[in-house]
Structures are given as structure tokens and as C-alpha cells.
């Protein structure tokens, strides 16, 4: 059946849509990344590890000299206290250890660095003195030289982790944003699948059996769709507060499934109302098949294109609403999500630091954009009567 669907006219039309194929490629990349993360490519603990100084910008960003001076001071203080307490062998800064030199040598190097730093410390506008900027560069180079050089894979990993900078706790924005892809796709997939199935079953039953079942389903979805989606979601999520499920994904799944089934339900009900009058359904009745068999075997499979379209629409909805709820502190806790990241970046944005909110929204935009293009193309190819 899947093979047949791939060979159908709709599929051909879809394949001819270049933008849609590109978007499908983008989705595949996201999917592969999510799969790699899920298979252990990025562990949850890694998203909480410090990788560098707090709030450093990404690879192509620049920071104020004031912050650079402060960061240098913090580095030197930490290293100095480690040396004083003879803990320098255990000292790590984000997996980087100090170079393998005698303690005296290290102390001396730190002293030298302090000397240069002192010249910078009391100047309020380092930027205006080119000769001081040179000194600042020198201090940073000396500090870097205090650490064992990162080579090979470690070097690549460090570059990857600091590529988009760090947040206010020195955690890698790259790692957190990429880890969130897995969360987004997981939420999107499970919610879209569950809501589409629920909506299809209710819609198909309503359309096919009519009578009180139809009345009940119509009443339910009219009532549900009268409530704004976000308010509905917030209320449903709130029910889980103070239960063991608070902060996990369960409230998100349940609330979104109970809210999103309306879309597929309405569409599938209409399609089944149309299909059930067709003659092949009458032929099945005249053979003597039961009504339930006819519904499952002859009607629901013929609504699969609509299920497909609704699935991809709900996928986007689920991702967006997960982010919104998490931003409002009603969603996931204790693990990174684009929503958490955007929430955390509120303070940073005031200070002119856009790396965290930028990374989260850019990755979310990419996925949602690609899914939007694909849903549109699916609709154009498989459901030409639908005007949206």
C-alpha cells in the first residue's frame, strides 16, 4: 500500500515540487540529528556542563573588552587558588587541564599574567587605547597557554561546543540547541500521531454511524474549538501540577493530544460522510460485511491522505506549542528545550546578548518552515480540492 502511494499521481506531483523536496531534505537532516542525539550522541548531562566562561559569544561574534578583562581576572583567580591549595593537578576548567609543568613554573606564569592584567584593570575604556588592546590579547594568549592544548577530536569538540557561545552559566548553546531538536521531534511525532489517530477514529465513527455518535462528536469538537488553543493547553497542563508528572513530557502529550484531535476529526468526518455514499461501500454492504468491517477496511484506508496532511500540520503545532508552554514555565523542566532557552535568554537580551535566543529560534524556524512547506505541498498534491 505504501509502495502504491509512492507511485501515485499525488506523489509524483509532490516529487516535482523542488522546494518541498528541499524542505523534506531539511527535515531529514533534523531527523538524523534527533536520532543521533537519541542514540547517545549528546547525553542529557552534557547539556548542563560548563564548557567555557559565562556568556561568551559564538565563533563570529565579538565581546566588549570590559568583559574580556573580567573573564581574564576570573580565570587567573581560579588557577591561582588551585595552585595555592596544591589542587592544580585536579583542576579542570570544562575538561581542560593545566599544562604539565612544575608548579613553580605555573605560578611564575600566572604572576606574569597578573602583571599585564594590572595595567588593564583600572582603565575604564580599554577600547580607546590600542596599546592596551594588544596587552589584553597577550593576557588571553598567556591564559590559554596555561591549559594543555586541545588536540584532535577534543579540539573539534571544543570548537563545536563554543561555536554558538555559552549561556549565563557557561553551558554550551550549541549542545543545548541541538539536544532540543530531539525533544522537539519527539514531542511533535508522538503528539501528531496520537492526535491524528484519535481524531481519525472519532471523525470516522461520527461520519459513518451518524445518529447520536455524530451528535456527540460534533458537540465535543464544537465545544473544544470554541476555547482558544493556548488557554486550553495551559489549563490541561495545570492539572498535572503537583503530580509526579509535573515537568515531564506527559502533561504536554496529554494536553496537546486532547486539543489537537479536532482538526483531523472534522476533516475525516467530512471525508467519510462523502465516501460512505460511494458505490463500493454499498457493494460491500450487499456482500453482507458488517458495518464496522466496512468502516475499517473500506473507508479509513481511503482517508489516509488526509491523515498524512493532518499529521504534518499537527507536528508543527506540537513543536510550537511545546516551546510556548515551556517558555511559560508550564512545559518541560530539568532538560533543555528551545522554550527553556528562550525563557533564559530574557535577561541576556537586555544585555545585548542574542546568541542563545538566536540559536533556539533559528533551529526552530528551520524545522517549522520545512514542515510548513511540506504540509502545503502535501495538501496541493494529495488534496487538490482543499483551499487553504
Amino acid at each position: 500500500m505504501i509502495l502504491k502511494a509512492l507511485r501515485s499521481r499525488g506523489a509524483r506531483k509532490f516529487r516535482q515540487n523542488r522546494l518541498a523536496m528541499f524542505a523534506l531534505g531539511v527535515i531529514s537532516v533534523y531527523g538524523v540529528v534527533a536520532l543521533l542525539v537519541a542514540l547517545g550522541g549528546i547525553r542529557l548531562e552534557e547539556t548542563f556542563e560548563r564548557v567555557s566562561r559565562n556568556s561568551i559569544p559564538g565563533a563570529w561574534g565579538s565581546q566588549t573588552s570590559e568583559k574580556r578583562v573580567n573573564d581574564a581576572e576570573e580565570y587567573l583567580e581560579e588557577i591561582e587558588s588551585a595552585l595555592d591549595n596544591e589542587e592544580h593537578l585536579e583542576y579542570r576548567f570544562a575538561e581542560r587541564k593545566l599544562v604539565d609543568l612544575p608548579v613553580e613554573e605555573l605560578v611564575e606564569r600566572v604572576e606574569e599574567s597578573w602583571e599585564i592584567w594590572d595595567e588593564l584593570a583600572d582603565v575604564s575604556n580599554v577600547d580607546e587605547h590600542p596599546e592596551l588592546l594588544v596587552k589584553l590579547d597577550e593576557v588571553e594568549e598567556r591564559i590559554d597557554a596555561l591549559f594543555a592544548p586541545l588536540e584532535g577530536v577534543d579540539g573539534w569538540m571544543y570548537a563545536f561546543r563554543t561555536y554558538l557561545g555559552t549561556d549565563r552559566q557557561g553551558r554550551s548553546i550549541t549542545v543545548r540547541a541541538v539536544y532540543s531538536i530531539k525533544l522537539a521531534i519527539q514531542v511533535g511525532f508522538i503528539v501528531a500521531l496520537a492526535a491524528t489517530l484519535l481524531g481519525t477514529l472519532l471523525g470516522a465513527a461520527a461520519g459513518f454511524f451518524g445518529g447520536w455518535i455524530d451528535g456527540l462528536v460534533i458537540w465535543l469538537y464544537s465545544t473544544f474549538s470554541a476555547i482558544p488553543v493556548l488557554i486550553m493547553l495551559m489549563v490541561l497542563v495545570t492539572i498535572f501540577i503537583d503530580t509526579p508528572y509535573e515537568g515531564t513530557l506527559v502533561p504536554l502529550y496529554v494536553s496537546m493530544m486532547l486539543t489537537f484531535w479536532i482538526g483531523p476529526c472534522r476533516v475525516i468526518r467530512g471525508e467519510v460522510l462523502k465516501l460512505k455514499e460511494l458505490e463500493y461501500v454499498q457493494a460491500a454492504t450487499s456482500i453482507g460485511f458488517g458495518r464496522f468491517y466496512i468502516l475499517v477496511k473500506h473507508l479509513i484506508p481511503n482517508t489516509s491522505h488526509l491523515m498524512f496532511i493532518n499529521f504534518s500540520l499537527l507536528f508543527i503545532g506540537a513543536i510550537k506549542n511545546e516551546v510556548i508552554l515551556t517558555f511559560l514555565n508550564l512545559g518541560v523542566k530539568n532538560q533543555p528545550s528551545w522554550g527553556t532557552m528562550i525563557n533564559q535568554s530574557r535577561q541576556e537580551v537586555i544585555n545585548g546578548f542574542f546568541w542563545q535566543i538566536g540559536a533556539a529560534t533559528a533551529l526552530m524556524f528551520g524545522l517549522v518552515w520545512a514542515f510548513n512547506i511540506v504540509s502545503d505541498a502535501l495538501q496541493d498534491s494529495f488534496d487538490p480540492k482543499h483551499v487553504s
Binding site: 502504491k4 460511494l278 458505490e279 463500493y280 454492504t285 453482507g288
Partner: protein, 320 residues
Amino acid sequence: MSLIRVDNMVKHFPVRGGVLNRIVGKVHAVNGVSFRIDEGEVLGVVGESGCGKSTLGKLIIRLIESTSGEVHYDGTEITHLGHNDMLPFRRRMQIVFQDPYSSLNPRLTVNALLKEAIVFHSIVPPSEVESHIDKLMAKVGLRPDQKNRFPHEFSGGQRQRIGIARALALNPDFIVADEPVSALDVSIQAQVLNLMMDLKDELGLTLLFISHDLKVIEHFCDRVLVMYLGYVVEEMNCLDIHGEARHPYTQALLGANPVNDPDEDRELTVLEGDVPSPFSPPKGCPFVTRCPLVESRCHEEMPPLVEKTKGHRVACWAVE
């Protein structure tokens, strides 16, 4: 011995409306139709669109539930049987539809749709299902190796053959052919009609053949019912149709039929206006609004269907 006896069949479709979705009226689709079909006979039903001929066919095999009236199939009254009691009769009565495009599930291969029916009714032992399907395909003039194709891979005529194969899959005695050729090209119509005729002779089928085309009816049927607005207005043998048709509506239908000879001098009865709405049929005779022979009694009373000569029943006050 008649295989099917239909007594006073009535079907009114309720029309709902208003704020409370109350029944505000009804469409009189079939109004008290009675007839018999003998075993091995082909009974034609002819009439304009909307006269209730398809509804009548579906009422007999219970695709639609009747408002009142009885159908006796081989001596058993079947209109009130439950689903399970009805199953043996479902097997014996099948239907071929008009539109070969909507009558086949696009997601089932020919093999799957035939197998489904055969297995459900255990027509043959499981080991013989495949060969039974091959035989059916050959019977309707399709190659057995085409059975794994989907309906969209066939032409209209081939699809109609698949529809016929599906009806025959259950070895029925009686088939309702609901305008089986009107959606086909003329060249294909003849093929499919000849196929049905051959199958009828070969398998001894009884048929209710619904059509709006008198020529097809003449070619194919033994007896014909002429329907108008849910009533049978005339019933006669097909052989009599040209010389003996008595009802003014039947004569108008015959007149509307083109003739091969352009020089033939024919008396044409051209009907004015449209069929009245079955939602509010006229009082008295249904044909009263268009009848050339209308008289005062026609407005008051529906003429009964009475036997004028043997095997020829007419419902008209003007016909003696």
C-alpha cells in the same frame, strides 16, 4: 414459480429542516410498487431520472430500508430479517452499479476485492480461492494475470467487468443491474451487454435490469416496468413494447427514442415541462401535469394498475 415477489413497496425519504432539525416533509421515491420476477427472467425497469428505479432496485436487495412493503425472496419475507439472518440472502442477491469508477475501492486490487467476498461467504474451500478467482476473471473476459492490478489501471469497460465479477463471485441467483452500461462508451456498452446476456444464459441468472434507455431494455429484457415518479404506470412484455404500449407516458418515451429510418413517419408525443418534484407530487395521477389525455378524474384519483390484456397492466383512466 416466481423467485421474487414485491408487495406494495413504499420508500419515503424524510426531509429535515428548520432550527430543530424536524422532519418537514418527505420525498416520495417509491409509492406502492408491486410485481413479481420469475426464475430466469429479466425484468427491465425504465423511466426518467429521479423516478425511483434505482431506489427500487436497492430496496429489493436491502441496501436501503423500505418505509413499508414486503419483498418475498424464494418464499421468504426478507424485509425484516436481521443482519445475520439476511446473510444467506445477501449471498444470493447481488448488484452491479452504474458508475464503474466509484463502485470499486481504489485501494484494493481485483484479487483482494474478490477474495474478500469469497472468503467471507466461504464460497469455495480456502485452497481453491485462487483458482475460483481465475475462473471468474476468465468468465467476465479479463485475463487472470490482471488480477493483481488496482482498479485505476483498468478502463471503464474493464472496471465494469470487474464489478460484474464481484457480483458473480458469490454465485448469486439474482442480480440487480443498476444501469450497468449507461456510463460506458457505446462500443463498450454492446460488449458488456452481450457479456451479461451470455452469463445470464450460462448461469441461469434472474435479473432486474434498470435503465433509462428503451433500446437496451428491448434488447435485453423479457418484461418491462415503466416507472414515473415512484409509480409503476405500465407493465408488459418487451415484445409488445412498440405495438401495444398503451400508457401515454410509455408512448412518449418511445417517441423520444431515435429511429434508424429518417423517412419514417412517426406520431410524436413530445412531453412539456418537467417531472413534478417527488417532494410534493400532484394529487391524483402523477402524470397529470404533462399528460396529453388528461381528464377531470385524473386530478382526483390515482388510476390503479389493472390488467388490460394478459400480462399487460396499465395505470391510466384514459386507457380502455
